[in-house]
Symmetry: D2
Subunit: 351 residues, 4 copies
């Protein structure tokens, strides 16, 4: 069951877990969204605190206070975004869906179709496998039609968004060996969340760089699941993330082995993304993360080195926007049958 | 003479010197301004280059190419912004004004009322002292009425904007000794412009900090000129700028000696800025530059240390927005009798 | 009572609280100190962990593990450094001193001569006022003779080191009004310590800048106490710290009112610091923090703006070296009657 | 012909091109080298300028001025380092060698054995192919014996150092497919040199990240040449560099296909580097660049993801030290038959 889309264009929006970075980004975007009424913003830790006190850039824009999570208040919303730690949304989603609320989870709870894989990588059993089955993976460039019909969106992870959009055209066209995919991805520190951890201090990670989760990262099965559905069959993926000494941005350099030496790569990418508002294919490009900073754009480029059969793709996004909150709003726009770009027209901040 | 404000809400805008950072910011803002048609964007060095090639974040948003400066094309505009080095606008402004074009100079050419002071600090004689006399200093919080009537706006410097808005309430209320003003200001590197100089390389100024122009900076006479008009008489100002290892943002910490020990400083600032959309007074605040990053907001706070008679003001802006391009558009909105906030509603990017 | 300085030049060193940044810096310096044998490095939280596992840059250099604090082991040392939170050293110092161990506290426990002032600013009563009375403030450029004789050193705070060395020549020569001292100081984030706090995350403070503790900072009474002893009498000091988006470095811009207009400031500073190895006076300088990064040097410069009577001093240090661990080792060298520069000859890392 | 190694341990050192970052690093290291007398430091642009004026961190350490390049003065040295742009050293090396001077070139002039490959990648013919033939590639971990005997050292590139040390054990042991090597390398901006270029401004590359030279970088043939000599035959290498928003550090993540599934990778690396002072193999490690910042250490780790046959190596260096000046001094130590670690014992600066 889904609530009727109100005749008035304003819908009531709830955000669970509004004190983290994806929560802050949702607020920044939704405050300027023409159809948005922010009704509920929850936080266990900060209940009672005015939102604008935690986020001074929102002073004068939001009158709300954070509230403790409240099922009634959330059920009263038309859509609820979960900007919470993994394992949270799945506790509440079934009840909200039953009340006709649409749900968009920015965490991983509904991304992995196989509950066993979820349990293996996230260390807990899935709380609602039935509901898991109906969740739609919220990558519009791939699942637009299904997103329109969905009640429940699994918003993709940040790294998966960048990596998937990079490999997509190649796997769909079946021009690469799906067994040898390498994704070397680098992210700014906001991707790790607003957590009081020594390993995220400026004094620890500023002016430094490193790989992490080298033996395996949770985003790998998510990426592999999606890429495996693209027409080239199951994939063999090596995914290695790295931590950049900056706040926002993901760049993924992707390597694959071209099986069709005559493939016009530029043409392939240009064509696949010609009508995608939020994927900008840059011919002969070397996209930098700053060119998409604060915007919902993903910018991609593709290259070969001479006659080498290795294809190199570069994919950049803002991890908090196209990698999280922006994509969530893009999905909301689709679910409510609005212009997909509503609230998402901010240009990148450059320099 | 001024051109009639067109009945159609779209005006034709020219930008001279569109390849620097203030030029890039003007483009970013004007692309989203409801009444803006970008007609001409000039650059001697990059004539012929598509704007979006230099500024990838504007791909798909601007079809224009940079063109060599052309008086006819510029005269065809309703307003021309000069985002050029000091000494450029004054060469062209008179002719443009004669043709009925409104002019907004983001450089210093028209800021100093006394041509002798201009010559002393900028090392060149003033090209049009007559025109200089009619220029209005484009700080809306101070000169709103005059800006509405103006043909020619001297857009304030970045440091002067932050420092002036900080001292303003105190000098207007005459509660401080005007002879002992200290402004310790710190700016991100974009304030120095997009210039190929060793001293601006990341490898030179990253992870480092220093004062510069300690024996005197050109913005000092500009600040002193404005502060001297506020009711407390001529001022004695010590202004010392510093270079921050980041891209955007100015924070100015201001020190003055309180002459009225009973002054309710919080009340004074709150009242003075109560109706100013773009100045946010933060009670008991410690504003950070990120809270205004990418937005046209100036955020201020005021404090004393116990019973000390020293007043401490903190003033933060984004040097490229409220310190340059945003303020220029704010002035344009006033000149054309539009809502002052048009095109300037972007919230800061935080984190 | 003090232990005899061993005939063999190797002394046994203990470090309490070795897991923070000042602890890490002590290790880095002492590992290369010719007379140092690191005997004990304590940490409650990390007891049992090999030091080189927490500090990979020390792999192969230190075989020790962190141990829980142990009075016997510490008493067996010739000198013990406390790199602990405020309030820790004063619990243990008396016992260690009784056992003949020399103590150098890098925290604030012994800096403020008046226990009432300590209690007011640090929120706890002083645990050993008797011992407090004999502590020597460890600023060699001021207290060299007393440091040589001392059993107990209060290592100065980072900001106080930079500010004091900046004002020193002026107050000693009595050429400024001691009632109007302004210190606008800026520090990299390592100065706040290796603490899991949201406010120190790269995603919170990167690419941003702000003042903090504007209504009063604990280092102010410490600075005022020292400056008040220099010959100009008690001082009126306004001290405002700021947080820089970088790891290391402090720059303090100091403002004072010159009472002797004929004072040759360059000469005054050059002379005062001519024989000080670790204070480099830079004629007409604009010192940057990177020029002292990783070194024990303090670099200062002085200026006036035209005929203004405001004196402007710039003072830069590395907050972890001359502002903490380097100065502590400098003090140790003096206490043990060694060349003051032992272990401290590392040049700054530039770029 | 080579000059006799002086009986006195002090040799005369010349540095050509002393104003860049590798020149600055050579100075910083050599000032503390027990056998070094800095005799000549040349710079065309800055002739006459005191070295310490350009490099304030060397104030009080170096009395020399930069001088215009002078063959006689250079010929009077025992060893000359070229820290110059590509194509410079090869103009002067033959004459210096004839005069018995040892030459260490930090640029690429003597790295590529085939003059045709040099010409193809560096856009100029080789000036002295005869001399090229005797040059020894200065990677001590590979060519120690030859370096000891050499008159002329081709100091390896920064990226090649990190990448080669990472692949070395695998190719020597012939446990990977040499045709499928991928090197995703990331460097701080100092690697691009101290050049007044817009693309290196903090305001351009701060808080951003991107790949560059994606279609082919000059370091690729250098790496391939070295890797091709290790026992596994000619290699197929895909090398993609990226620009990090920081000053120093290179991290290279290397991918290869394991052909021997039973290979004990940890053991292989541990054994190969057990006796190498400047390569630290970190079991199960995730090395960060800061752990080698300012030091001559290369730190490596190796991993697999489950049963995947992809081997992942992480290799970190400081691009200016082990990637340039430190390695050059390491080579000099070998050439003069000294302890290889002289002058190179500085620990990394952490945090």
């Amino acid at each position: 069951m889904k609530k009727e889309i109100p005749i008035t264009p304003k819908i009531k929006i709830g955000i669970v877990g509004g004190t983290g970075y994806t929560g802050a980004e949702l607020l920044r975007i939704l405050v300027r969204h023409p159809h948005s009424t922010l009704a509920v913003i929850t936080s266990r830790a900060e209940a009672g605190l005015p939102v604008a006190q935690l986020f001074p850039h929102l002073r004068g824009q939001i009158d709300l206070q954070f509230t403790a999570p409240d099922d009634n208040a959330l059920s009263d919303c038309d859509v609820v975004f979960f900007a919470t730690p993994n394992g949270t949304a799945m506790q509440s989603a079934p009840q909200l869906l039953d009340r006709g609320v649409r749900v968009i989870d920015l965490a991983a709870d509904f991304r992995l179709k196989d509950p066993a894989v979820w349990a293996q990588w996230y260390g807990m059993p899935h709380a609602c496998p039935d509901v898991l089955a109906e969740a739609v993976y919220g990558l519009p460039e791939l699942n637009r039609a299904a997103i329109r019909q969905a009640r429940l969106i699994a918003n993709p992870g940040c790294y998966p968004t960048a990596v998937t959009l990079g490999f997509l055209p190649l796997l769909e066209a079946q021009v690469i060996d799906p067994n040898w995919l390498i994704a070397d991805a680098k992210s700014g520190a906001s991707g790790a969340g607003r957590k009081a951890e020594t390993g995220l201090l400026l004094a620890e990670i500023g002016e430094s760089f490193k790989a992490y989760a080298v033996t395996g990262h949770r985003h790998a099965p998510e990426i592999a699941q999606t890429l495996g559905q693209l027409g080239s069959g199951a994939v063999g993926l090596t995914f290695v993330p790295h931590l950049l000494p900056m706040i926002r941005g993901i760049e993924a350099t992707l390597y694959a082995r071209l099986t069709d030496d005559n493939c016009d790569l530029e043409q392939l990418f240009a064509k696949r993304y010609a009508t995608e508002t939020f994927v900008d294919f840059m011919p002969n490009g070397q996209p930098d993360t700053r060119s998409v900073r604060g915007s919902n754009m993903c910018r991609v480029a593709v290259a070969r080195q001479g006659t080498s059969s290795v294809v190199i793709v570069q994919s950049v996004i803002d991890n908090l926007v196209k990698g999280a909150a922006g994509q969530a709003v893009q999905n909301m726009n689709l679910m409510f049958d609005w212009d997909e770009t509503l609230g998402l027209d901010a240009l990148a901040l450059l320099p």
